[in-house]
């Protein structure tokens, strides 16, 4: 369980209902048109089954997406929604969240949408800390345009647009978000409903921008990209669960752990048998200094040899939208007299003859 009570609940101001809600209340009559086996189905199901526990009025929830396979998401959510244009969902959601504090606003985006065409909006939304929950479906490929490499594809990836292998160095979305001073950053796997739900819940309860990277399988253009994290034998050696307040350890017997490297001050992986339990780093997502969470995000490499999942960072910082509304409310202490605004200071009067 990764919930951290920050005293700034992300959903304050959003009206709740006492009526019992079910997952199917959040389903629309629209046929879901993702490819068979797409990881998006699992995420959609997780979101639909998790939302009822928030107890929010359905009409006060809004999903906004950009362009890409995952961005069809709003059509399948029986809430308010907007399927917008490529990369711009965080900007549109910023305007909505700032002007309406009574809404729970979610952005659904992908690795191309969020990190390539929309990279600018993503980093600025995170630094402003607008009260938005951003679900970044990372399948490390362009699906809707049929299989070009994305900004999270591995170097050398052979795709239609890179027959000799891609030359781009990929982003680590968690590192990028932390570099943009995101107040909440988490990572989850599409296939692990329980862990995904925990991260989603923590994101929802966070007041401010929450970026959740979701590793999501594209069965058509990048099938099996995350299989090493799903294989029952291999996954324990690779997935590092981050549990707030617990020592960071993993492996089938918990034989591996994360320790601080006294030489570099950074984090590294060690054998518990060698370093002892007391040497393990106890995970604290609330550490202000982002370098700790950043170090966690660098534990693994792009080939998923070690992959921390869970909540990397969850810290308190005033949100842009709260501050913007506070300024307007403060200004409203001053009377809004349109007549005197239009007259200004210097007027003159022309009399009728």
């Amino acid at each position: 369980m990764t919930t951290i009570d920050l005293g700034l609940p992300g959903l304050a101001g959003v009206p709740t209902t006492t009526e019992a809600q079910k997952a199917k209340d959040f389903k629309t009559d629209q046929e879901v048109r993702w490819c068979p086996g797409c990881g998006d189905y699992a995420v959609l199901a997780a979101v639909q089954s998790f939302l009822p526990e928030l107890g929010l009025k359905r009409e006060n929830i809004v999903f906004i997406s950009g362009i890409g396979c995952s961005s069809r998401f709003p059509y399948y959510m029986n809430t308010y929604g907007m399927h917008s244009i490529h990369g711009r969902a965080p900007a549109i959601a910023t305007g909505l969240a700032t002007s309406r504090e009574d809404l729970s606003v979610w952005v659904v985006t992908g690795d191309g949408d969020a990190l390539s065409i929309g990279g600018n909006h993503l980093i600025h939304t995170l630094r402003r800390n607008v009260n938005l929950k951003i679900l970044l479906f990372n399948n490390r490929i362009y699906g809707l345009t049929k299989g070009q490499y994305s900004p999270t594809s591995e170097e050398g990836k052979v795709t239609k647009s890179t027959p000799m292998g891609s030359l781009d160095h990929p982003f680590n979305p968690v590192s990028l978000a932390l570099g943009a001073d995101a107040t909440f950053v988490g990572r989850a796997l599409d296939s692990d409903r329980k862990q995904l739900t925990e991260v989603l819940r923590a994101a929802a309860e966070h007041r401010g921008s929450a970026l959740v990277e979701i590793y999501q399988n594209c069965p058509i253009f990048n099938d099996g990209a995350f299989d090493v994290l799903k294989d029952s034998e291999a996954k324990d050696e690779r997935i590092i669960p981050l549990v707030h307040g617990q020592p960071i350890r993993f492996g089938s017997e918990g034989q591996h752990g994360v320790v601080r490297d006294p030489k570099t001050g950074s984090l590294r992986i060690a054998e518990v048998a060698e370093v002892g339990l007391d040497a393990l780093v106890v995970h604290d997502a609330t550490i202000e200094d982002p370098s700790y969470a950043f170090a966690l995000s660098r534990l693994g490499s792009h080939d998923l040899d070690h992959t921390p999942v869970g909540v990397f960072r969850s810290v308190r910082r005033a949100t842009y939208d709260d501050l913007a509304r506070a300024q307007v409310n403060e200004a409203k202490q001053k009377p809004a007299n349109l007549g005197s605004l239009l007259r200004g200071k210097d007027t003159w009067t022309v009399l009728a003859d």
Binding site: P15, T28, K57, R58, E59, N60, V62, I64, P74, Y75, M77, N78, T79, Y80, G81, M82, H83, S84, I85, H86, R88, P90, A91, I92, A93, T94, G95, L96, A97, T98, S99, R100, D102, L103, N120, H121, H124, A324, R325, Q327, V328, E330, A331, K332, K334, P335, A336, L338, L341, L342, R343, G344, D346, T347, W348, T349, V350, L351, A352, D353
Partner: protein, 627 residues
């Protein structure tokens, strides 16, 4: 030197004139815009009609004393209603050799030239290519030249204040203002009050500037070389209370008023860009009216956030100039597809690309009209003068809210920075722009569903159902919508129908008929303009009529859709002339839509038309028909 401001210590001839054009020109750091602005306020407070033309470089501080660094401010004030800032100055104030060189060609022979001699050093003269000092040869003999050592006198007068020489010299623009205020018998209290408020936190600077201002006044009063002062009586404008206002301020006030008239919060999402930034600056001051201003990370985020706010039930507004419109195009298309109200304010500047950021142009018309992928019609409204920006903002909002559509408002650098008297409207006369959000399911098939694309039969507008309304949860987006239900549809017939419906909605917008100014009723030539050329075209038409010829003037506020009577108006005249600060964009639209053999007259110089130049062109057309 006495600092008493008084009149009558020396007999001075007072000449009554009906109009004067003054141009203040100096280095971009000399404070010429402020000086011009203050003189404008004095003229306004006196009750003159006026029009102004600030003209400054894009560089904040271009190299000192160079031609590119020259900044000027032209003011035309009169005892009757005027339409333009004037073609040529009657009085040129030149603060340095660069200002003289850049502006002297515009001063007609017999004009008054007031020169700050302190800057006429060999080095400064050489910098702008003067071989000899023009103050010492015969090259300025056609003008009434007043040589005044403004910096030296200001410095001497300010010596008791203890200010450094450099700081004291900086007040020389106030000396110039004082001198001109004396020449034109202006009130001084307003400027003194202004300076005290502007420098409220630096009272010693305020007093130094006031001292420099009074010194300039007294210099005129006591110096023999100034033998004449001028009096321009108040103008006989329509009765009412007036203020002076620039186009950008009027536009910002229009947006505030639109929010009040619509009873909606205003959300401005924008990114700084010349010459539109002042709209953001102004609106940021008026949060007490429920105005939120968001300075986004880029142009795209600015309009995106505005559209997001519209989705939430606010009046979404974005402000920019031409290059910003290019970046916002895709989101404007999204607003067309999602059919949401959105105000897009474009303060046009010289293009293409970065072009001439501080200069004016009307070359974004076709971008506004067609600058999107697909069939994406957008209504276009253009203000004709600085004060008219207020009404234009209300009109653009009316269209946006009534028809649920983005609306493009095309201002430009000339009216954005220019100013004129504004008859302050009675609040009771402002339009009721209130809207009704959808509250109930509306499906006509008894299903109890909400259909977001079921249209109002009259306006073809779709319902505005904002998040938070129970039972109306719906999804919108950029994909083609099925008629009525708003679900995604790739059906060929549906797409064809939706394209036509979106067009019909814009075509069906109710706009006022265009009025024709044809005093004699005998004109055979019609001049058709739009936007900021109203003043120069109107002034040119007056001149043509004074020559005994007939000419008609019609000026378009609505560029899309055109007024319903436009075709009939165009057909009434033997010749239609369309002057534009572009390569003939309105003329192209008119020719295409009405099959009228309109003649385009174009100039793309970054400056408004001169009335004289248009007069010559129009006279040729009138005579050509008569011949």
């Amino acid at each position: 030197m006495s600092i008493d401001v008084g009149r009558g210590t020396r007999p001075v001839e007072v000449r009554k004139v009906d109009r004067v054009v003054i141009r203040f020109a100096g280095d971009s750091g000399d404070g010429m815009q402020l000086t011009g602005d203050r003189f404008t306020s004095e003229a306004a407070a006196f009750g003159n009609d006026l029009a102004t033309l600030p003209n400054f470089p894009a560089e904040i501080r271009a190299p000192q004393g160079t031609l590119p660094g020259v900044s000027s401010f032209q003011l035309h004030f009169a005892d009757y209603d005027i339409l333009t800032p004037g073609d040529r100055p009657d009085v040129l104030v030149a603060m340095n050799p660069a200002a003289l060189k850049a502006n002297i060609a515009d001063l007609p022979p017999g004009g008054t030239l007031i020169v700050n001699t302190d800057e006429f050093t060999k080095r400064n003269l050489t910098k702008v290519g003067y071989q000899a000092n023009p103050l010492e040869d015969e090259s300025l003999s056609a003008y009434h030249v007043h040589q005044v050592a403004m910096a030296t006198i200001t410095r001497a007068a300010l010596e008791p204040t203890g200010l450094s020489k450099k700081d004291a010299e900086r007040a020389k623009n106030m000396f110039a203002l004082g001198l001109l205020s004396w020449m034109y018998n202006r009130e001084t209290e307003g400027t003194e009050r202004f300076l005290r408020e502007k420098f409220a936190k630096l009272p010693e600077i305020a007093e130094a500037n006031i001292l420099a201002f009074r010194t300039g006044w007294n210099y005129g009063e006591t110096t023999e070389s100034f033998a004449v002062t001028y009096e321009v009586a108040p103008a006989k404008l329509s009765p009412g209370t007036y203020r002076q206002i620039t186009g950008n301020t009027a536009l910002a006030y229009g947006v505030v008023a639109a929010g009040q008239c619509a009873k909606l919060p205003v959300f401005l999402g924008t990114y700084p860009i010349t010459p539109a930034s002042d709209i953001l600056h102004e609106l940021a001051k008026h949060k007490n009216f429920g105005v939120t201003t968001f300075q986004a990370e880029d142009e795209i985020a600015g309009i995106g956030a505005a559209l997001g706010a519209s989705f939430g039930g606010a009046l979404g507004v974005t402000s920019t100039s031409g290059p910003g419109i290019a970046l916002k195009s895709e989101t404007i298309g999204l607003a067309v597809m999602t059919e949401m109200p959105l105000l897009v304010l474009d303060v046009q500047r010289g293009g293409p690309s970065t072009g001439l950021p501080t200069k004016t142009e009307q070359a974004d018309l076709l971008q506004a009209m067609f600058g999107r992928n697909g069939e994406a019609p957008v209504p276009i409204v253009a203000p004709r003068s600085p004060a008219d920006c207020f009404d234009a903002a209300l009109e653009a909002t009316r269209i946006a809210l009534t028809y649920r559509t983005p609306v493009l408002l095309l201002s430009d650098g000339y009216i954005a920075n220019g100013s004129e008297p504004w008859l302050i409207p009675d609040l009771d006369t402002l339009p009721d722009l209130s809207v009704e959000f959808a509250t109930e399911p509306n499906a006509t098939d008894g299903s109890g569903e909400f259909w977001p694309y079921l249209r109002d039969p009259e306006t073809l507008a779709r319902p505005w159902a904002v998040p938070g309304t129970p039972g109306l949860e719906h999804r919108i987006g950029g994909l083609e919508k099925a008629d009525r239900t708003g679900n995604i549809s790739y059906d060929p017939d549906n797409h064809d129908r939706m394209v036509r419906v979106r067009q019909a909605k814009i075509d069906g917008i109710t706009v006022d008929d265009v009025e024709v100014d044809d005093p004699s009723g005998r004109a055979r030539v019609l001049v058709l303009g739009w936007g900021s050329s109203f003043g120069p075209i109107g002034a040119a038409c007056r001149r043509v009529r004074r020559l005994g010829m007939d000419i008609a003037h019609a000026h378009l506020r609505h560029l899309n859709p055109f007024p319903k009577n436009l075709g009939e108006v165009l057909a009434r005249y033997d010749r239609v002339v369309v002057p534009e600060m572009n390569m003939g964009q309105l003329a192209m639209l008119i020719r295409a839509k009405y099959l009228v053999d309109a003649v385009s007259y174009t100039k793309v110089a970054g400056l408004p038309f001169k009335a004289e130049e248009l007069q010559d062109v129009l006279v040729d057309f009138v005579k050509g028909l008569d011949a």
